[in-house]
């Protein structure tokens, strides 16, 4: 592709006609973010003692896990080290039920302004805490947005992706650059890259339920049906439900138990899980399984099409 530093993370054109395992029309990944609400500093002692935290861990999470079991859906749970240390039994319980536990930072914090050595230390420590708890290293690393962030794409530093590659992570959990897995390139010359999994805030419950957060101004903060219609329309387009043409991509939905345990919202989540199972065959991997499939079926050396940049620096333009 015509590569441009600070503009692009992957190649010029997406991959069409993706073939999924099990004869599936599309893939469906469910991400459950079990952290309590927090700000840019992430989870500290105060965030772990809020009503939302207690409700999320004790009441809502068991309901979410039951709902997943009931439909035979497997999910991916991004967990920060702070949560693993605070509630080890809860995190082990998630893994024991067949779901994937991925990393979500030391505290689910904003790392965008950290020095490289500080971020590297936190990354190593997070990996270690999760590996010690689960008996194996996490395969993936998420950096999902918080509800109160100024932007809804999640935060990374200029070093994050490179550090993840260095640490041997198989995938970065969230990138908006495509709706299928894609290679996030840190150095086009050497083709150094990590696989990135698709994320889009249009399919993240926290921007539709109790949003804007209490005390942040605004009204009309409860729109579960809008969320459901977005999920359903995106999934239907990807799976080709109802006879429409199938885009055949990787549908990804994100939910937060502290928001979704309440009856009327849990109902929306359960309806969507039922919908995932109601149509043509769908492949429901964890993010790690999907990444593993991608690495073997669409490896970077065969699919990543990087060409020299044709970018020119013009006076009076951004570089």
């Amino acid at each position: 592709m015509p590569w441009k530093e600070r503009y692009t993370v992957t190649d010029e054109r997406t991959l069409e006609n993706v073939v999924w395992p099990e004869g599936a029309r599309c893939a469906a990944i469910v991400v459950v973010d079990p952290s309590p609400p927090c700000g840019l500093q992430g989870i500290g002692p105060r965030e772990l003692e809020t009503d939302a935290a207690h409700y999320g861990f004790d009441v809502a999470l068991p309901r979410i896990l039951d709902a997943l079991d009931q439909r035979g859906i497997r999910a991916t749970f991004p967990v920060p080290a702070a949560l693993a240390e605070h509630a080890p039994a809860l995190v082990r319980g998630i893994a024991a039920r067949g779901h994937e536990v991925a990393a979500h930072g030391l505290r689910r914090e904003d790392v965008s302004r950290l020095e490289r050595h500080e971020e590297a230390w936190r990354l190593t420590r997070t990996t270690q805490v999760l590996a010690d708890l689960l008996g194996q290293r996490p395969r993936g690393w998420y950096t999902l947005p918080r509800q109160t962030d100024a932007f809804a794409g999640g935060t990374i530093s200029p070093h994050t992706v490179d550090l993840l590659i260095e640490a041997g992570y198989e995938y970065l959990g969230n990138s908006e650059a495509d709706d299928i897995p894609h290679y996030w390139v840190t150095d086009p010359a050497s083709r150094r890259a990590i696989l990135a999994m698709p994320y889009c805030y249009h399919h993240d419950d926290q921007f539709f339920i109790e949003f804007p957060p209490i005390g942040q101004g605004g009204s009309n903060l409860e729109r579960p049906e809008t969320l459901f219609r977005n999920w359903r329309a995106e999934f239907d387009a990807m799976a080709g439900s109802g006879g429409q043409r199938a885009f055949g991509r990787c549908f990804t939905m994100v939910v937060h138990p502290w928001l979704n345990g309440w009856g009327q919202r849990l109902d929306v989540f359960e309806r969507m899980l039922a919908h995932l199972r109601s149509g043509p065959p769908v492949w429901n991997p964890t993010a790690g399984e999907c990444a593993g499939y991608w690495h073997s079926s669409y490896p970077a050396h065969a699919t990543l099409k990087l060409a020299a940049s044709i970018w020119a620096d013009h006076p009076g333009s951004q570089s």
Partner: protein, 280 residues
């Protein structure tokens, strides 16, 4: 540049070619990551835009091709250096490539402003083989636009039908858009620099209802419709499916015309030239 006084000439008796009841321009602002980059947004936000240039643009072009919709792409000049293949393909398909700033900003400095417009026009012509005659964005002086050969703009909303704007001896036809028919208003956080907490993401069914309601009124009036989509928002699978449903429904009505913007402009200039319209 914008200091010069502008006057309007409306076209009160505007009628469409024989057999046409209403004209629908589907316009695509091909921003990809450039709008977010121009606002210095963080890294992860740029990936939202990258979806548009890498994936969304192709779906929207395929959709318009399959429905015989004469798509008009308003393209920042820098796209020629980021996604040139998509622009060459747009030209091959017979779509119109018009201009949309250099890097999604209009510089205030007069000389730099002319420089950006020259760069953009030259880059689009070099990439597609056709010199653009249309432009979308406020802030350009009409003298700069006229000097580069532009005939029309699609940036203002002082009427709901095409109308002329005059400034310093230069005349541009304006094809009015409508904020309610712009996908970004429904599907984009940080829309016009708003914070997420100030915004709500809508869903395809609700937007479909708004847009088809607008179309029914415009069709009944024999008017003009200008739909604005973006590669990064409407290129998402659910939104493409919604547009497919919308086009299919619109085509069930009598006398609906889906030309490029340039074709509408040619009709107006040929049959309702500026000098003959009444000044308002």
């Amino acid at each position: 540049m914008a200091a010069a006084q502008r006057r309007f000439q409306r076209i009160p008796d505007l009628a469409w070619p024989q057999g046409i009841r209403c004209a629908v321009n589907v316009t695509l602002d091909y921003d990809a990551q450039l709008a977010r980059r121009a606002n210095n947004e963080p890294r992860m936000e740029l990936t939202e835009g990258e979806f548009g240039g890498r994936t969304g643009i192709w779906r929207l072009m395929d959709l318009c091709s399959s429905h015989d919709v004469g798509l008009t792409l308003f393209v920042p000049g820098r796209i020629c250096e980021l996604y040139p293949e998509s622009l060459r393909d747009a030209a091959r398909r017979g779509f119109e490539v018009a201009s949309h700033m250099w890097e999604h900003r209009v510089p205030a400095e007069p000389e730099l402003q002319r420089e950006h417009l020259r760069h953009t026009t030259a880059a689009l012509e070099a990439t597609t083989g056709v010199r653009p005659v249309g432009q979308r964005a406020r802030g350009w002086g009409f003298d700069s636009l006229a000097a580069e050969g532009y005939r029309y703009i699609s940036s203002f909303t002082a009427d709901d039908k095409p109308y002329y704007m005059l400034e310093g001896g230069h005349t541009m036809l304006n094809l009015p858009f409508q904020w309610a028919l712009d996908d970004a208003a429904y599907f984009k956080f940080a829309w016009l620099r708003g914070l997420p907490a100030a915004q709500r993401i809508s869903d395809p069914d609700s937007v479909y209802e708004n847009w088809i309601a607008a179309f029914r009124c415009i069709h009944a009036q024999g008017g003009y419709m200008n739909i604005t989509v973006h590669d990064l928002q409407s290129g998402r699978a659910a939104r493409v499916a919604m547009l497919e449903r919308l086009f299919t429904e619109m085509k069930r009505y009598q006398g609906v015309w889906f030309p490029t913007c340039e074709r509408v402009v040619r009709h107006c200039l040929d049959h309702y030239p500026a000098h003959r319209t009444e000044e308002v």
